[in-house]
């Protein structure tokens, strides 16, 4: 196996008394799509800022293409494309000017950038908006432009912090499609998200983070297999009765989680379990059988849901 592009060991970041990142370890290989999954405040964005060489660490080591981002900040940043959580496009400039000037920040020649702009506008599906000021763009367009902007320097690694937060479902799907294309082209992606469906769609491998620590690591399918059952039966009896029936139901399945509005029953066969519940003369007001997801993994690991 070749050397990883990113290597993180014992990374810790403290802000006064608060420990945002608490001794995490991970590697990212070339061409891999790697995710940091966790709720808000898990330390994902802090980790991303350290990876993008715009924040210092308290202790531990970080190597990006064999370089310490703290010592070789500008050189490390030349390898990276950064898509921050909040769009920070240049509101005083047009779409194509945004791409142009960003390339100039990297010292790229005007000729090189102008060639690149056409390709990037096509990738971002913004050819018709090239001379429009960015303020007039929709949220999804802005995010696509921010990603395109991050690609102008042909980075080895693209860092995406919560790429689809705040977008409507349609815009999210367009964005996922674009990111999937990049993945197919072999671009190394590192992304943070608190959406489990996003992590499942885009990540080859991910770490589950909570309170600054890594709780588990693996492929989405691998994690589900390891930490959850094949299927989940969700039942609702109404908010008062949920608690009453819980002890009885808990004995009928491998594991159960009690949420405020519903009960999650982990099992290999959801339909069969539902039949057994009916046979026990318990009649849920609603029921749903679904595959296990990363949400269930997170719940198992932390006892909490991802989006609270």
């Amino acid at each position: 196996m070749s050397k990883p592009l990113i290597s993180v060991r014992g990374l810790t970041k403290k802000f006064d008394d608060f420990t945002a990142v608490d001794g995490i370890n991970f590697d990212v290989a070339k061409g891999e799509s790697f995710g940091l999954l966790g709720p808000n405040g898990a330390g994902k964005s802090t980790t991303m800022r350290i990876l993008s060489a715009t924040s210092t660490r308290t202790s531990g080591t970080v190597e990006i293409l064999d370089k310490d981002p703290e010592k070789f900040g500008p050189l490390v940043r030349a390898h990276l494309g950064v898509v921050p959580q909040q769009d920070n496009l240049d509101g005083e400039l047009t779409v194509s000017e945004n791409l142009f000037i960003y390339g100039r920040y990297f010292g790229l020649s005007k000729k090189f950038i102008n060639g690149k702009i056409e390709e990037l506008l096509e990738f971002a599906q913004l050819e018709e908006k090239r001379d429009v000021k960015v303020e007039a763009l929709s949220g999804g367009m802005k995010r696509r432009l921010t990603i395109a902007r991050g690609l102008v320097s042909e980075p080895d690694i693209l860092l995406l912090d919560e790429p689809t937060t705040g977008l409507d479902p349609q815009a999210r799907h367009i964005l996922w499609d674009r990111l999937f294309r990049l993945k197919e082209q072999g671009v190394t992606l590192v992304l943070t998200t608190h959406f489990m469906d996003e992590a499942e769609q885009l990540c080859d491998r991910l770490v589950v983070m909570d309170k600054g620590a890594i709780m588990a690591e693996g492929s989405p399918q691998g994690l589900i297999k390891e930490y959850s059952s094949k299927e989940v039966l969700e039942v609702r009896f109404g908010s008062d009765r949920n608690k009453q029936v819980a002890p009885q139901l808990a004995q009928m399945c491998e594991r159960m989680e009690t949420l405020p509005d519903r009960l999650l029953m982990y099992t290999e066969d959801g339909e069969k379990l539902l039949e057994r519940i009916a046979a026990a003369n318990l009649h849920p007001t609603t029921s749903l059988v679904r595959r296990s997801s990363l949400e269930d993994v997170f719940l198992r690991l932390t006892g909490r849901t991802l989006i609270e």
């Binding site: 940043r77 030349a78 100039r104 990297f106 980075p155």
Partner: protein, 270 residues
């Protein structure tokens, strides 16, 4: 290896400076092309209005002014002082309000620092842009004054590099101060300081009218040095005092650049 990485590898300099402050000027020009011209015009008009109101209005009451053993027309007396003011206005406009916006609202500097650019590129680039605005203002003012026939000699052309130094000093200092401000209320302090400094620094009358202590206070302020510097070149009266004024501005520029770049690093690379 990508072109961006090859470029970054050639740059052996520190994490503070990538050697590309000119890209800030390119960005400034792109943004300026499509922005409104109103603030530019008003900033330029202010000293011209002062010249007209005081020169032609007050000038008729005041008559001539005697400094040392030369006697000059009042309008001719205030013109170089207002030129220094003009340079200051141009430089301050960009280095305070525009910088405040880019620091706190548009987060432009934060974005730039996620590329290989360093804090010193941003400080030098933005201060140069402000300096250019100050220079344009003073050129405009000089043109108006020349048309009115108040310029004494070709020496007055040398007042332009002098005004550039003044603009550079204020741009550098202005950006350094602004980097500490977080709210619009704090930004208001800048105007509270600028207006009295403009009125009392000796552009409209010699500061020898003040009591001794006040004269010393004014002589510690940058605008007085700027006015004296520009005035010396304007009338072609170069003496050793000019060196003191130049030294004052070089100190101001260096301190401003140092503080600004440190501050940008503290704000966005921690």
């Amino acid at each position: 290896m990508s072109a961006a990485v090859i470029i970054a590898m050639k740059n052996k300099s520190s994490a503070m400076y990538a050697g590309r402050p000119h890209v800030l000027l390119e960005r400034g020009w792109l943004a300026f092309r499509s922005s409104t011209w109103i603030p530019v015009v008003t900033g330029f008009a202010e000293p011209v209005l002062f010249l007209l109101a005081f020169g032609y209005g007050m000038g008729n009451l005041v008559g001539d002014v005697t400094i040392g053993n030369t006697t000059i027309d009042y309008t001719a007396f205030i013109a170089p002082g207002l030129l220094a003011n003009s340079a200051m206005n141009g430089a301050i406009y960009d280095s305070t309000w525009n910088v405040f916006w880019k620091l706190n609202e548009s987060k432009l500097y934060k974005t730039m620092l996620s590329t290989p650019l360093g804090p010193m590129d941003i400080a030098l680039g933005e201060i140069s842009w402000a300096l250019i605005r100050g220079l344009v203002y003073s050129l405009g003012f000089l043109t108006v004054v020349s048309v009115l026939g108040i310029t004494p000699s070709f020496w007055a052309l040398l007042a332009i590099p002098a005004a550039s130094l003044v603009a550079f000093g204020f741009a550098s200092f202005g950006m350094a101060i602004t980097s500490y401000f977080k709210t619009y209320q704090q930004m208001g302090f800048i105007n509270i300081i600028l207006l009295p400094m403009t009125l009392f620094s000796g552009s409209l009358y010699p500061i020898s009218v003040y009591p001794d202590w006040l004269e010393k206070v004014i002589m510690a302020l940058p605008l007085w040095h700027g006015i004296e510097l520009v005035r010396a070149f304007w009338f072609g009266e170069i003496n050793s005092g000019v060196l003191v004024h130049i030294a004052y501005f070089i100190l101001m520029i260096s301190a401003g650049l140092f503080v600004t770049s440190r501050r940008l690093r503290a704000l966005f690379l921690r």
